[in-house]
Homo-oligomer: 668 residues x 2
């Protein structure tokens, strides 16, 4: 065995002199669709490679789906949100004609263990967790792939595929199992493992997973991996030319990707944790079956996710299911959190990061709300001649589009996209606050920003418009309320009575009861208060309408300066509630921090100046009778300057200590 | 004068030996954004020319807006809908970075006449019609340009521009007006008119409009056209170096396009009726000012619109305002009518054409409704393995995308786009009716088709979703109603009572009163009918819920075969009403046709066989005593076969006549 191992290491050494020399960059032909997009291709050691599809605009895309045996967690969220954004960008920004396939691994060691523990048939068991996965995807607004392939549907195709590999001479049957013959494959001039040339013999042996540990004697070499596993008792099994058994893990992706997308395939993606051995073995199997040199042209990998600097695991108690995360944050906040990190870089999830995402989300909501109001208040018949402001904003708009285009072609660099968008938004905010820019230009910017957020699977515009049109009603309400407040300031109760007892409000017939009720109640209560000439109550009613009645219906009124009309904004009710909760959590955290600081201050005040300095042996070594330090930790006399500093500290502590004593005396 | 005219004709002859030789196709550079788009360029005699913007993805686009002095009409609809679709396609399909400018002509002969007649200030007058125009644009869902330029805002810039043309030697002042010197311009090697090289001397003189007819004596040549017009009494006027006056018509576009977009400009568009002299003069002015050879790289023209084969005009009583059109048809139907015609071809508007658009609109609505139901009823946990059907539909989907891409690059060939989309939709309809295709694939097709309709400014998906979610409620209602009907068929009144007196329905708090009321009413009435064991009434109540109560709220229930669940679809209430009206109009037309045919039949029945044949002198010349024809119109005896035919006709007419006589007798 040892002899065999060292021989194979030599083979690995031999082939890997020039890493990634095997990779052939697809060449642009006459009818190629060239957009300038470059991808960090794992087949070329993550080097940026121009993306050229095989057939015109068509892109065949396969990505590894989940093994369905447990709850979907934050790691899934990162991987599939990343792929979702890539899919939307390829399709909606670059206009590739995308056909995407995702598998569901429903045959696997962990599934067998889980199903046996749950005393369920394995397909019954996987259906439960598959549904859990897709529910989580839907909650996060992740689009379905065009094609879903379940391993359990493709066993006959897998058997045929393995037979082809055997007949090509790269696999052998042994004791009812079938293994891939790594050395033969390399000896014939193929490269393995393609994406991790620096891999060592130890790693290669690790690749096979726990259930294969005892199978070494069946294999010609420890590096060989299973394509087909002879069945053990209590395992699902299928008939095959090699007896009853089940597919190995790696073979499924080679077979299902080929079944739908053929050979060669443009693009393959998956989590970085799958790069070796899963993806390298998938490549070897397909290339051994088709006797080709490059089954996949571009292989991209989603970065690893840590939770608060540690690997996520159930034992570390930092395992977070998507369901749990979505109780605390909106899908948009979660999406933003991942979008502001480069998809193929490692990411460290933390609460602080989520707070950043929440803040960003809030600023984007306000951008869309404020521009909406600006456009609502603008008339096309207003002055339209461009001033210097418009020219400047237009130039910034164009340079932003240019930056974003470059960033997207640069391996989907969304952090740069988000950053450029923020700068544009910031400038628009300044311009509309000054009311110094033409509405049609703002409208174009808003549409573009909305389009860019669409690539992130986020749509703020429908968020605010996907409801019955309350605009006519709300315009009237704001106007009445403004009148009431102005008149109350002037003690003009007649005007108030007039304002709230005018003709019935006009609104859409199918508007919500609750809104109409709230407004009617406001009017009636103000009427009574006005008849009682109760100015204070009128102001309170105006506040109640804003802070409680309308807020609970998802509508915020923003009061402006005395002489300016108030404005209203509509939000999703559930989200407003969640926002309140999030704010309360933050408030509690701040209060706890404050309490902690007060406690520390109290502990410090309990010390006399003498005790205070004597605790600082790391700084001082000798003290006078009042406790004042005279020598530093190395035994040197304190300098004049140092003496002045410790004198001041002594006096400060003395003051603190005396006030503590005073307090104690009073409490007795 | 005659001598002068013939000299200038020679100059025109000289320069136009090779038509369009002046045009230089923009060349692709290293950083050019090349999409394959080709435009029918009027600068090259409508030849298809590859579209290459000057700076990367940036496209500077100017198009001629309306002269605001009267109602917006169907001609405006065609032009601005066409430009709207082009803008959306350039931006959303080809991803050019578009900056678009449209002018408003608010200084013009017709405006002066109109304002004087209305006794209004000209700006007061134009504001009214400008608002009318923009209201019509909004009603048709036509997007605003990024920049709106009004001529009245740009008079100082116009004066400066004219001064530059004078100093370049191509214009001269005469009697307080300024004219463009065509002959000098041509003599210096410029081409004029660029887009209509076949233009003749007569046409050239026509170009100046009525107000200039008497100004020939001021001009060096009859072909010269006014840049600045000395003011007459009761005209708006501005100070200038040449005294008080106002800009000529053509100069405004040269100046305002340059003020925002500079020189050169990528793309210019306008109605074909403006090609000469307006656009040719605009080109000459700008090129004379900048002393350049190609101010505009691509000039495209929207085709002419006839109404029922005649030019639209108020005198022909076929003048149709957009407001009038939108009382009869939805904006979508109007948009579709124009979308299915090539933008730069002439189009003939007719009622039959609109009926075709209505039919198309209906089929698209049903496509989106039926796929929505298919997707609503599908689960991601359903069988997902692709069958031959899925592979075939996927292949059709890809070839459709390819056809549409080719068509769009081919001068925005939307008739082909719509045709290819129809074929794809048709295939999807077949597949979902057979329930034999995977839902994720259907979902992708639906999203793509929605995107393509988006280029036409039409969004069927938001049409059905831009409302409060009634899905949970409607699922319950359909289910209850289905149960009631099945139970009624079985005379199982106990089940009916149970079905309608179950727990309260669950639904969104902010759902419309009217819907909830209708459903409660249905339940109460069914309960009573069930207690009375009145089966017939129960069926009537089920029909009433479907045909009246829910229909009036924009919800249609479709009953299926006995053993299948019914489905529901939601529509826009206003549109459903309009659809009913449109159907009633069609029904009335059919009834009138039927009445007319009955009247003709009655008139015929009043004739005895003798009278019947004697009226046919164009066929027969002699008859026997019963009125039966014996000789044909040329005096030849009828053949045996002919005799048989007339004998049969005689008997038929005799029968008809006798039944008429019988009827008459009974009525007496």
């Amino acid at each position: 065995m040892i002899k065999l191992a060292s021989r194979s290491i030599n083979i690995f050494m031999q082939q890997s002199k020039v890493p990634f020399a095997h990779y052939k960059v697809p060449e642009a032909k006459e009818d190629s669709y060239v957009t300038g997009l470059k991808l960090a291709n794992s087949l070329k050691g993550s080097e940026l490679v121009p993306f050229i599809p095989i057939n015109g605009r068509q892109v065949n895309f396969y990505y590894c789906g989940p093994t369905v045996y447990s709850n979907s967690h934050l790691g899934h969220a990162r991987t599939y949100l990343g792929i979702d954004v890539i899919r939307r960008t390829l399709r909606d920004y670059f206009h590739y004609d995308l056909l995407s396939v995702m598998n569901i691994t429903d045959i696997d060691d962990k599934i067998i263990t889980g199903a046996n523990a749950a005393k369920q048939d394995f397909l019954e068991f996987t259906k439960v967790w598959e549904k859990d996965f897709f529910d989580a995807m839907e909650a996060l607004n992740i689009e379905l792939p065009d094609v879903i392939t379940r391993v359990s549907d493709y066993v006959p195709e897998i058997v045929t595929f393995i037979q082809k590999i055997i007949s090509n001479g790269y696999a052998y049957e042994s004791n009812g199992s079938v293994y891939f013959e790594v050395q033969k494959y390399i000896a014939d001039g193929h490269t393995y493992p393609k994406m991790r040339p620096e891999v060592n013999a130890e790693l290669l042996q690790e690749g096979e997973g726990e259930s294969q540990v005892n199978k070494q004697s069946e294999k010609k070499s420890p590096y060989d991996f299973a394509l087909w596993k002879a069945s053990k008792p209590e395992e699902p099994k299928w008939q095959s030319p090699w007896g009853e058994g089940r597919p190995g893990w790696h073979i499924e992706c080679s077979v299902m990707a080929s079944a739908i997308l053929g050979n060669p395939i443009d693009l393959h993606a998956g989590g970085i944790d799958l790069l070796f051995p899963h993806h390298d073995n998938s490549l070897a199997q397909a290339e051994a079956c088709f006797n080709c040199e490059q089954w996949i042209n571009y292989f991209i990998h989603l970065g690893h996710l840590n939770i608060a600097d540690r690997k996520m695991s159930k034992s570390l108690k930092n395992f977070m299911t998507i369901e749990e995360v979505l109780k605390r944050y909106t899908p948009r906040q979660v999406r933003l959190n991942f979008a502001i990190h480069q998809y193929d870089a490692p990411q460290n999830y933390s609460e602080e990061q989520m707070e950043q995402a929440i803040a960003k989300d809030k600023s984007y909501q306000e951008f869309f709300q404020n521009t909406k109001i600006y456009l609502r208040q603008s008339q096309v018949t207003d002055a339209q001649k461009w001033t210097e402001n418009d020219f400047q904003l237009s130039a910034l708009f164009r340079s932003t589009k240019q930056i974003i285009h470059q960033a997207l072609t640069n391996n989907f660099d969304f952090p740069t996209v988000v950053d450029a968008t923020d700068k544009l938004i910031n400038q628009v905010n300044i311009q509309i606050a000054a009311k110094n820019v033409r509405a049609p230009l703002i409208s174009s910017v808003v549409n573009y920003v909305n389009f860019i957020f669409g690539l992130l699977g986020i749509n703020y515009q429908t968020l605010f418009s996907n409801q019955i049109d309350i605009q006519p009603l709300m315009e009237q309400v704001c106007s009445i309320r403004d009148k009431v407040k102005v008149a109350a300031r002037n003690n003009d109760f007649e005007s108030i009575t007039n304002a709230v007892s005018q003709k019935q409000l006009e609104y859409e017939k199918n508007i919500s009861n609750h809104l109409v009720d709230a407004i009617n109640q406001f009017q009636q209560e103000v009427l009574v208060a006005s008849q009682n000439k109760n100015k204070q109550q009128i102001f309170q009613l105006c506040d109640k309408l804003r802070d409680q009645q309308l807020f609970n219906l998802g509508i915020k009124i923003e009061d402006k300066d005395k002489d300016q009309a108030s404005v209203w904004k509509q939000y999703d009710v559930q989200e407003l509630k969640l926002e309140r909760e999030q704010q309360q959590v933050l408030l509690q955290q701040k209060e706890q921090q404050k309490k902690k600081e007060e406690q520390e201050k109290l502990e410090k005040a309990k010390l006399s100046p003498k005790e205070f300095f004597s605790q600082q042996a790391d700084k001082y070594s000798e003290f006078d009778e009042t406790g004042l330090p005279t020598k530093d930790k190395d035994g040197n006399e304190l300098s004049k300057k140092q003496k002045k500093v410790v004198q001041e500290l002594w006096e400060k502590q003395n003051k603190l200590y005396n006030s503590y004593l005073e307090q104690q005396k009073q409490q007795q």
